[in-house]
């Protein structure tokens, strides 16, 4: 490693440690930011010599990254950005902190995928899904798919692991020469009714989909979820025991197994490691307080709210919404979510944009109670399970109330 990169790495690690010690966060952004100021090529230098997998998509990338890193652990030490810091500063910080590891699995914000592919020269890129997410800031879904497609076209040597159920992902990936398709199901379909290739309508039936005007259609998946397990490309079914709830996490496990297989890890080796993952940066974490078992579920956009309702038990449920920069300033998406699965349980609402949520729930016919503090929430529900579903910064606020639970 060049001297400049060594200095940058050392300063970066120190800054991250100081940030953590000061209680200012996980330190995974500030460390990388300082390192990249000293050496703009730091990420490239830190990535050199490692076999790397990148994981990107609108939803599930933090969890899938954690599961894939656990699976690759079969082969040796794995560097990973496990705190969800998914931009180049976070990647830089994660690789600097890990020291020299033969492997790395990095979660990548979908906007940064092209740049991170260029700088890290990955062996594998996993593409999970594309759906509406913070349109006041993010690129529209079709433009994002185009960016991915262009990025991959410049790197024909990369093995792509991609979701056969998402037309936008299939269109972005299908120009690649090495593709493994997985099927993780897709509950949310409202962003792919129009073919990105031809502009014609896309039809769906029984899990299949096809464009009515051109050749784009669902490819055969080599990895897929069936019952409580995953079927591999040889047709063998493997029971998947996870601590993480919901069908969506079975899909994430299938993706992680497909990524690991690209490095030569067999499902039978990887599966015991997947079952050790209990929570990820507070997601799915359970905290006991005053007799209440509080479980944290993160939901950032319409697709992930549907998944959260699927995971949540029928118990008192707190919904918390903010609209700060990381959340997007626009709350319109609340009307893309059908909250009726909550009709059979007590609902409490809080957060900076609780009034938006109140109007939405009223239109949805869901009774609710507005609460102003987390302590008030805990006092106002009976002992037992309390499900908490929150968007990004609201989730971080509640995590802070619970001593930054991981």
């Amino acid at each position: 490693m060049p001297l400049r990169a060594k200095v940058a790495t050392s300063v970066s690690k120190t800054a991250a440690a100081l940030s953590r010690a000061a209680g200012r966060g996980d330190g995974s952004v500030i460390g990388g930011w300082i390192g990249l100021k000293i050496d703009p090529d730091l990420l490239r230098n830190l990535a050199a010599g490692r076999a790397i997998a990148l994981v990107s998509g609108t939803n599930g990338k933090t969890t899938t990254t954690r599961l894939a890193a656990a699976a690759l652990g079969v082969l040796g030490p794995v560097a990973t950005n496990s705190f969800g810091a998914n931009m180049p500063t976070g990647h830089t910080s994660a690789l600097a902190k890990a020291g020299s590891t033969p492997f790395a699995v990095l979660e990548v914000d979908e906007h940064y995928l092209a740049r991170v592919i260029d700088e890290t020269n990955p062996r594998v890129v996993a593409l999970l899904n594309l759906s509406r997410d913070q349109l006041d800031r993010a690129k529209e879904v079709a433009m994002m798919a185009q960016m991915w497609r262009t990025a991959l076209a410049g790197h024909p040597d990369i093995s792509v692991v991609a979701n056969a159920d998402d037309p936008m992902v299939v269109w972005a990936a299908r120009g690649s020469s090495h593709i493994t398709w997985f099927s993780a199901g897709q509950r949310w379909t409202d962003d792919s009714w129009v073919c990105p290739e031809s502009g014609d309508p896309i039809e769906r039936a029984n899990g299949d989909w096809w464009c009515t005007g051109c050749s784009l259609r669902r490819p055969q998946a080599q990895w897929r979820v069936e019952d409580d397990g995953v079927i591999d490309p040889r047709g063998d079914w493997h029971l998947v025991k996870l601590q993480l709830p919901g069908t969506v996490n079975l899909g994430n496990a299938a993706t992680a197994l497909a990524v690991a297989a690209e490095f030569g890890v067999r499902p039978i080796e990887a599966l015991p490691r997947l079952s050790t993952v209990a929570s990820i940066a507070g997601r799915y974490a359970q905290v006991d307080r005053d007799g209440r078992n509080i479980r944290l579920l993160l939901a950032k956009n319409p697709a992930s709210w549907l998944e959260a309702f699927d995971m949540a038990e029928q118990a008192p449920t707190l919904l918390s919404i903010n609209a700060r920069d990381p959340d997007g300033f626009d709350t319109s998406w609340l009307y893309d979510v059908d909250f009726s699965p909550l009709h059979d349980r007590p609902v409490l609402i809080t957060g900076e944009r609780a009034f938006d949520l109140a109007v939405r729930l009223e239109v949805n016919g869901i009774p609710f109670r507005h609460v102003l503090s987390f302590d008030e929430v805990v006092r106002s529900v009976p002992p037992g399970r309390l499900e908490v579903i929150a968007n990004y910064t609201a989730f971080q606020d509640i995590r802070a109330e619970l001593d930054r639970v991981n």
Binding site: L135, W193, V194, G199, P201, S332, Y335, D336, F355
Partner: protein, 237 residues
């Protein structure tokens, strides 16, 4: 209102134009009608289905360039929406849907023909307008200030055949001065997504137009009023 005395509301092409919570307007109109004891039927008409011409209120939402151009083309070929408007239907057109009600708009770098149902045309601005928007609505409509969130790259130029929906007091709207347009029973606005959530008075205006009533019985607007107050204050100046 149609002879069967059921209020019929059509949501135009949700498969193409529903980028951000546009369904909310359909839900809010249906709820506010039901609270007044008005029987309602709602229809989501996909772009591969014929557009009925006998409904009372039509809603059209926002979308990306490709779907916007496709929607305009299909609506022109279908003709059902033109017949409905000529027969006096009320319309709420939002963002991309608002643009395509004019004579022309820009999508994917090309000028596309619109429906010509509002005397206006749209082109591209130098920058994208994103953020809270607030405006004083045309006093002839007798409504409280408009509150919304805008997110569009277009600029819209009004002809003499329409009036601005509002004078902008925060945000951009059509051109930094005016926001939206109205003519007859057609309302167009850049206040995107579920615009009626923050503007229940506009929802009630559409209902009054549709049933030919001067007023409606009041409903409990505690939460919409709190939301409006918060967002109008947040829009700044």
């Amino acid at each position: 209102m149609s002879t069967e005395s059921v209020l019929r509301i059509v949501w135009i092409y949700p498969d193409l134009l529903s980028t951000y919570g546009d369904r909310g307007n359909l839900l809010i109109l249906a709820r506010r009608a039901a609270l007044r004891g008005i029987p309602v039927e709602t229809y989501s008409v996909r772009s591969d289905q014929p557009m009925p011409s006998t409904a009372d209120i039509y809603l059209i939402g926002g979308g990306e360039d490709g779907p916007q151009a496709l929607a305009a083309q299909r609506l022109i070929n279908d003709g059902g929406l033109h017949r409905a408007v000529n027969q006096g239907a009320a319309v709420l057109a939002i963002c991309a849907g608002y643009q395509l009600f004019g004579h022309s708009f820009f999508a994917k770098g090309a000028k596309c023909p619109g429906l010509g149902l509002l005397d206006l045309h749209s082109d591209r601005g130098e920058s994208r307008a994103v953020g809270e928007i607030r405006g004083d609505i045309d006093p002839r409509l007798g409504l409280p200030p408009l509150s919304g969130f805008e997110n569009h790259g277009g600029r819209t130029h009004l002809g003499p055949g329409v009036a601005p929906l509002a004078r902008v007091t925060a945000g951009v709207g059509n051109d930094g001065q005016t926001e939206g347009a109205w003519h007859g029973k057609i309302l167009g606005t850049y206040s995107h997504g579920p615009a009626l959530a923050r503007n229940p008075a506009i929802a009630d205006l559409l209902l009054r137009w549709a049933i030919g009533a001067d007023s409606l019985s009041p409903v409990d607007d505690t939460w919409p009023d709190k939301l409006r107050a918060e967002r109008l204050a947040a829009a700044g100046s």
